[in-house]
């Protein structure tokens, strides 16, 4: 039954929409197999309740449901999306046709201007609306570092499209308040079930991440993993076939266009974030923390409220200055004040004692961080389930270079024209929008990398230039999430493509609030 005068608040209508879309065929044809039709919001079947299934494709049933719900055939749904690429437009066209097939009219448009404000406005009255956002359907995505992120929107007053679902509230709190995987999994199962049942959100497909590599590269046995984040892929052991001049040069993409991005926002998206900055802990290809990177050793207390780690001896920055615990402390405190810090990491930082105060500008230092020589101790005011994950993604910056900087404007700092890091590669030359070259850092704590030089060109995934560069032997390794790139890369004889499962789900948000 509809809960307000917006027919989309009727679960039968939402279900009909789900049934009208033949995701299997779309994934197979339009996405050329480079997408996995979704069942739940998260891609891990372990998070689903017993017997939960995807809605599947059943236009007959969809029509019946619509008829039952008394769907107004003259209504034209307003679908918005924010990916400007051709494939999304194609996808929209296909969805439009499929919806039309069951009698639901839909027009789609690309969002312009302040996209964030247009998609995330939450009604003042989280139950009755009216809606703040100005659309019926949103084609969007959720890329998460940890599964909680998928569900946090269902907390009270967070959801722009769904009137508060009371039964979800305790579940959201449950998965955030515990570090116990079993407790969390139980919450996920229940929430997935509720969402699937009511189609509050319609998961469409899971995006995979594709690592491409040319024949010239040899990983020497190191794994392929979630390149969007930081994990140990053993870059220092990689080798590349020498070129005509006998030099071991590897090409990659994603060089900066104007400035290097702060590694706190997108933790691994840019080549430099991965190889120039080392994180405190390291993760495996699935991002599970497996040990220290900068840290020699670490320890999380039983209650999960104290985390301490000791930095390796003799760590230096690329400029030769020592990397100290002070640097780490300063970095943690500053990151809490930078609005664009990755949300999960930010959540961790805010739960440190005094973290909120620093973030709010009421204090300069976090009382919860203590230093003893090379050892840093972090005390949490409340339990955070993702401490290790956050620290496996967090890279400290050299404090000495940021004297007196306003954290809000840290990205605008000159440092980002030629960053100094702590990772296996250091920046040799940075010509914005043209190329960036990296060379091994000779004092790297794990040894010196074998590739002599990495040349990064400024093409990003989904950019036709990536394919052109690859075709011209100017892309030896890198990754893309764009399904269009995949078949093109696969077709090239000298390129290999390795799909990796990542937590990234594309979905429809269905606006159930009444609109006026």
């Amino acid at each position: 039954q509809a809960i307000n005068d917006n027919q989309l608040s009727d679960p039968r209508v939402r279900k009909a929409i789900a049934l009208a879309i033949d995701m299997d065929t779309i994934a197979e044809t339009l996405f050329e197999g480079a997408a996995i039709p979704a069942t739940g919001l998260t891609s891990d079947p372990g998070n689903y309740p017993e017997g939960m299934e995807a809605h599947g494709y059943d236009p007959e049933r969809a029509r019946e449901l619509l008829a039952e719900a008394g769907w107004d055939g003259s209504r034209v749904l307003d679908m918005v999306y924010y990916y400007p690429d051709q494939q999304t437009a194609d996808f929209m066209a296909v969805v439009q046709a499929m919806l039309a097939d069951v009698g639901v009219q839909m027009e789609y448009r690309l969002l312009e201007g302040d996209v964030g404000a247009q998609i995330s406005g939450v009604p003042e009255d989280p139950v009755n609306g009216p809606a703040v956002v100005d659309w019926d359907l949103l084609y969007g995505a959720r890329a998460a570092l940890a599964p909680q992120e998928y569900f946090n929107r269902f907390a009270e007053g967070q959801m722009p499209t769904v009137p508060t679902v009371p039964e979800m509230l305790p579940l959201v709190a449950q998965v955030n308040a515990s570090a116990d995987p079993e407790v969390q999994r139980d919450g996920y199962r229940q929430m997935e079930g509720i969402i699937n049942e009511n189609v509050y959100i319609l998961p469409l497909y899971y995006q995979q991440l594709y690592i491409f590599e040319s024949d010239r590269i040899d990983r020497n046995g190191h794994p392929y993993g979630n390149e969007q984040y930081s994990y140990n892929n053993g870059i220092i052991d990689w080798t590349v076939e020498p070129n005509e001049d006998g030099e071991h040069v590897a090409y990659t993409n994603a060089a900066p266009q104007q400035f290097f991005e702060l590694p706190w926002q997108n933790l691994g998206i840019w080549i430099h974030n991965k190889y120039v900055f080392d994180t405190i802990l390291e993760g495996d290809p699935t991002l599970t923390p497996i040990g220290g990177e900068l840290a020699e050793s670490y320890e999380l207390s039983e209650d999960g409220l104290t985390f301490s780690f000791t930095l390796k001896d003799g760590l230096t920055w690329h400029d030769g200055a020592p990397l100290t615990a002070e640097d780490v402390k300063w970095s943690l405190e500053t990151a809490a004040q930078v609005p664009i810090t990755q949300p999960l990491v930010m959540a961790t930082l805010l739960r440190i004692e005094g973290g909120q105060a620093v973030a709010d500008g009421e204090a300069d230092e976090m009382s919860g961080i203590g230093i003893d020589g090379n050892t840093v101790t972090v005390r949490f005011a409340e339990l955070d389930p993702n401490v290790l994950l956050s620290f496996s993604q967090f890279a400290p910056l050299p404090m000495a270079h940021f004297e007196g900087v306003d954290p809000l404007q840290i990205q605008q700092h000159e440092f980002w024209q030629f960053p100094i890091g702590s990772g296996p590669f250091k920046i040799e030359e940075a010509r914005m929008n043209e190329f960036t070259t990296l060379v091994p850092f000779e004092d790297y704590h794990r040894g010196v990398a074998k590739i002599d030089q990495i040349i990064a060109l400024p093409s990003a995934d989904g950019d036709a230039n990536l394919i052109r560069n690859a075709a011209a032997n100017r892309a030896d390794f890198g990754y893309t999430k764009n399904p269009v790139d995949v078949p093109a890369l696969e077709e090239m004889e000298h390129m290999n493509v390795y799909p990796v499962n990542i937590p990234y789900t594309r979905m429809f948000w269905i606006n159930q609030f009444p609109r006026d």
Binding site: D22, L30, Q86, Q87, L110, I467, V484, E491
Partner: protein, 320 residues
């Protein structure tokens, strides 16, 4: 005045001039005139001049055909341009799909026809609209001058001090993307040129004596400007309209290429051609980009031919 007998031996006789291509042409003209003496040339000088321009006629035919085909799209296309068929993706041209299908299995022929409607609407519509604005202001202010002229001139100066593409991008950023906005943007960027041309024409026509004569009768400026002077400036205005049409259609394609054109939900030539950005399609599926690319080029070419023909036909200084 005495005459000297000319003996053939007297003069230094050079051999007769060799015949050239021109001679053959002249002989043809003479023969034709001899054949039908006295028949007068039919039709206006303008029309006959235009029709004599082979390229212009070819252009007109292509132009008219493409417009007609686009208008008659519902009758000609057997497929819906917007309905995808995922089981028929990227089919090469066949009896079923004359131009093949695109990445979602839509019939490209139908898309090109329907896309033509929008693209031509954008091109021709903006050209006409900017001509309308430019002419209405330019004709009056060119004749009367005064503050209106001053203001219009300053505004047009502002618009014309931008490189075209920068201004278009800026306006896209300001106004946002939509079909209507695109027409508005093109009109905004295009009116200045026509305004200035119309104004300049008026300034020269203003000195013609028939205008002075009308003034001496005390006729109002609007009447003199629009009724009596404007018709004499139509030639260059028409040329200008054709050229802007061509330019706007190309710009629409360029903007689509940059992803800033008409929203992708609307098929336009530019949006269809955008598929060529995909290297794989460029290499392997020529039908996705070649027919539409050819259509754009052919249409623009035909418009340019017409413009050239109009220019020659309306330019009194051109002989031949």
């Amino acid at each position: 005045m005495s005459d000297v007998p000319l003996n053939p031996g007297d003069a230094v006789r050079s051999p007769p001039r060799p015949r050239t291509r021109r001679d053959a042409q002249f002989d043809r003209i003479r023969d034709r005139e001899a054949a039908r003496q006295g028949t007068k040339l039919r039709g206006g000088r303008f029309l006959s001049k235009f029709l004599n321009n082979r390229l212009a006629v070819v252009g007109l035919v292509i132009f008219a055909s493409i417009i007609l085909l686009s208008l008659a799209a519902p009758l000609i296309a057997q497929h819906d341009p917007k309905s995808p068929n995922l089981r028929a993706m990227l089919d090469p041209p066949s009896a079923e799909h004359w131009f093949g299908t695109d990445r979602t299995g839509r019939d490209i022929f139908a898309r090109v026809l329907y896309g033509g409607r929008v693209s031509i609407l954008v091109g021709l519509g903006s050209a006409l609209l900017s001509a309308l604005i430019g002419v209405v202001i330019g004709v009056y202010s060119g004749y009367v001058g005064g503050w209106l002229d001053w203001v219009a001139m300053r505004i047009s100066e502002i618009f014309m001090s931008f490189p075209q593409i920068i201004l278009v991008l800026l306006l896209v950023a300001i106004l946002g993307q939509s079909l209507l906005n695109l027409i508005v943007i093109f009109t905004l960027t295009g009116w200045g040129g026509i305004y200035r041309m119309a104004r300049a024409r008026m300034l020269s026509i203003r000195e013609e004596e028939y205008v002075q004569a009308l003034r001496s009768f005390g006729l109002g400026p609007a009447r003199i400007a629009y009724k009596h002077m404007l018709p004499n400036a139509l030639g260059p205005i028409m040329v200008n309209i054709t050229l802007s049409t061509a330019a706007f259609i190309l710009q629409e394609a360029g903007l689509s290429f940059l992803g800033l054109g008409v929203p992708m939900s609307v098929p336009t030539w530019g949006n269809i051609l955008n598929a060529a950005q995909d290297l794989r399609l460029l290499e392997n599926a020529w039908w996705v980009w070649l027919p539409v690319g050819a259509t754009i080029s052919l249409f623009v070419l035909s418009v340019n031919f017409i413009g050239d023909g109009l220019r020659d036909a309306t330019d009194p200084s051109q002989q031949g």
